[in-house]
Point group: C2
Chain length 334, copies 2
């Protein structure tokens, strides 16, 4: 199957699933990356960002596009998510973000008041994370040519030591900085008009990651494709097996209920302010303790073994495979 | 008037002109920038890119969104224009681009074959300009939620010495790297299905600018808003008057004819592979000679005097003011 999907085919059309963060996304990105490959001093191991050697330090560079629906949701808006996304892509690599670029495409007729709210929301995160927005672009399209507003951010950061996504070792613990999928629950509650106390988890992760960076063997934030996508990526790149423990699920009851209602695996729900990391067993408790000072739901959720794939060890002792998401998906969450 | 437009107003709606590169664009960007301002180590004088001091060298960072219609046109496509735009924003600052980020938003149902062509076109410029695409993002929206494909690029570059846009001095000459507005003529010929031999001027400008960088007192590429926008910006920032000479207009006959047909000032036509610079009188001939080795239409088009504003000295000796574009404009050129 991989073979069939490794080339562009003339008759094929782009599908929503190509943008969902799962298997088809990965295949499309592989096809694009293959064409774009030229000799370069940068390294990019399929991480959230690329790395350029500046001598003693490293420059880290990332980008993300945001086409969120609705643009305002409990706990955030498209502006908050756009700056936070760039900051977190740098932070999970161990970098300190130094500057963000902000590119806006706005639909003709969009309310200036809503634009102002979005920009203020970006500024709030920019101040909190001490990361300035330093350059930008603003385009306007004819009414009906886009849906309200789209934001693409890019970010540059400086790192002394890179945390990569392929460093997990057998014996390591898998830790999480808080409950997952709350961004998905909050955003869908607005879209489908149901009541919940859950608000988006969208937040910068610089302090959390920096506080435990020396302990981490790998880290990644479960945005598109959720934990299912990134755990499979971490397992595959490190050539290890990941076993999660159903007794320590990183989900609130409401998140699980929504997952069952929609018939969509909760492990594929995107978060926008959480990270999953692997850490040597001997440092795991210390790392979790540090993380708990930011979010009391930080915890150990599993372990690394020899082998391959991602599994959930169920309460009754079975092993359930967690696959990279494919098929049915929720669009425009992040 | 400036006063009325310096704040967001609740009842106002975004108009196409807010994205056109003229007066209303500048006012909107001012309002956004004012909200986003925080203490920062970066400098951005309203140039095409922001500057971060790395010690002996400077890091330069830029972004641009591209919503071009049609996406394929004589001499290029949205991919070519997207990577070239980022490269040139760095190049006109005197920087050597080191890496580009590529963010795609694709409409469901878009042809994979056309996507492949666009990516190949990006790769062609990437190779020619020796500037790798190092990181990216790919999103897909539901059919009808965007128009085919949108591309946002960001770029990082390294500069030893920055060429800024405020350095013009009375006595300097104004030079241009080739005829202007050909990108506009080519793109509109496809949109409105008329015949022309003119193809888009879209091309990277690294070599051209580097070859004469030591002579330049300021430089800028006339993209959105065309020469009219950037000459007014250069004059205003340097607090000087610019006088162009109608005997040395940087336009082909067909460009002038299209301008008259549309009733839109040719000086507001965007180019995507040209720059305008100011240079000390004594170096002007040498600089133009160098530029002519790349494009024989490079020439001196005017001079800097004390005063303010941008004027065209007509063949019969009058002075015609060239204003920052406002009002009627051509959308989605670049």
């Amino acid at each position: 199957m991989k073979n069939n999907n490794s080339k562009f085919k003339n008759e094929n059309l782009i599908e929503l699933e190509h943008g969902g963060g799962g298997l088809k996304s990965n295949e499309l990105i592989d096809r694009i990356t293959k064409i774009l490959k030229i000799k370069s001093k940068w390294t990019n191991t399929g991480d959230d960002a690329a790395i350029f050697d500046l001598g003693e330090k490293k420059l880290v560079f990332t980008t993300d596009a945001f086409i969120v629906d609705p643009i305002f949701f409990p706990g955030g808006d498209i502006g908050k998510i756009a700056i936070t996304g760039a900051i977190n892509d740098l932070a999970v690599m161990g970098a300190l973000p130094i500057g963000i670029s902000l590119s806006l495409i706005i639909e003709e007729g969009f309310s200036e008041n809503n634009l102002k709210k979005i920009i203020q929301s970006i500024n709030k995160i920019s101040r909190a994370a001490n990361t300035p927005v330093v350059t930008g672009d603003t385009k306007v399209t004819e009414k009906g040519k886009i849906d309200k507003i789209e934001i693409t951010t890019a970010g540059v950061g400086i790192a002394k030591k890179i945390i990569q996504n392929n460093g997990a070792q057998p014996g390591d613990c898998v830790i999480v900085s808080g409950d997952l999928g709350e961004h998905t629950v909050a955003l869908l509650s607005k879209r489908f008009n149901y009541k919940t106390k859950i608000i988006s988890d969208c937040q910068p992760l610089i302090k959390e990651i920096q506080s435990i960076a020396p302990f981490l063997t790998s880290a990644k934030d479960p945005t598109r494709g959720g934990a299912a996508a990134i755990l499979n990526e971490m397992a595959s790149k490190a050539k290890v097996k990941i076993i999660l423990d159903e007794n320590n699920l990183p989900f609130k009851k409401e998140t699980i209920a929504l997952s069952e209602l929609l018939g969509i695996d909760k492990f594929s729900f995107p978060s926008e302010g959480r990270f999953i990391a692997t850490v040597q067993r001997k440092f795991a408790d210390k790392a979790v303790k540090k993380l708990k000072s930011f979010n009391k739901e930080a915890k150990i959720i599993g372990k690394i073994e020899k082998g391959k794939g991602v599994y959930l060890k169920t309460i009754i002792g079975g092993l359930k495979k967690i696959d990279t998401p494919r098929g049915k998906l929720i669009t425009r969450i992040c």
